[in-house]
């Protein structure tokens, strides 16, 4: 049972354009969502996060949108750069009593930014 789903395994975008990566979740107990970026032979690197009390969080070229009613979040990268080419993972957690908890990951979307 995949609780976090990334239905697009790959995405190709031209340099300078917007990249939009999507993620859906099924567990209504999730209240904190993160995006990670992964290069080959490296561990995932944290990009941006959002808690369920917000519907948008922005950090430079990266913006995450959360639609709780649709259980959907998206990551926008604008403008896209060749160095953004990587696999992007959506992850979710349900924090309990203010303590940390495990992350549940999607299967990833491979983004390729072309010149």
């Amino acid at each position: 049972d995949q609780q976090v789903k990334q239905n697009s395994p790959s995405l190709s975008v031209q340099e300078g354009r917007i990249s939009i990566l999507n993620c859906d979740y099924t567990n209504s107990m999730f209240d904190y969502f993160l995006w990670y970026k992964k290069y080959p032979a490296e561990g995932p690197t944290f990009l941006i996060s959002i808690s369920s009390i917000k519907d948008k969080n922005e950090d430079g070229r990266f913006t995450v949108f959360l639609n709780k009613s649709a259980k959907h979040l998206s990551l926008h990268i604008v403008p896209s750069q060749p160095g953004d080419s990587a696999v992007y993972f959506c992850a979710a957690s349900g924090s309990l009593s203010g303590t940390a908890s495990k992350l549940t990951f999607g299967t990833g979307t491979r983004l390729q930014v072309t010149l």
Partner: protein, 114 residues
């Protein structure tokens, strides 16, 4: 400062052997996590430590897998009687231990069971 480190980076073993994978978290991080990533999948949770104790081990697939963190810093993931299906990248992450904090990942150990 230093990030999360994992050793070895690669481990090749034979079916039935015992392996140990080591994780050095970021200094001061109280929470430590182990995940396993198979080809084409996202990381899958195995176990989480808060300090020295395992706060959640619900992701360990069976009793061949065990992890320890005796002094609340370095952790070792131990796999007994390895099987070919155990082949994967084993990732370690650490965090400050409070909610709404990102987890910082190490580069992983690629385990291959022949």
């Amino acid at each position: 400062g230093a990030g999360v480190s994992q050793t070895p980076s690669n481990k090749v073993t034979e079916k039935g052997k015992y392996v140990e994978l080591r994780c050095d978290p970021i200094s001061g991080h109280t929470a430590l996590y182990w995940y396993r990533q198979s080809l084409g999948q996202g990381p899958e949770f195995l176990i989480y430590f808060q300090g020295t104790g395992a706060a959640d081990d619900s992701g360990l697939p069976n009793d061949r897998f065990f992890a320890v963190r005796p002094e609340g810093s370095v952790s070792t993931l131990k796999i007994q009687r390895t099987e070919r299906g155990d082949s994967a990248v084993y990732l370690c992450a650490s965090s400050s231990g409070s909610s709404y904090n990102e987890q910082f990942f190490g580069p992983g150990t690629r385990l291959t069971v022949l």
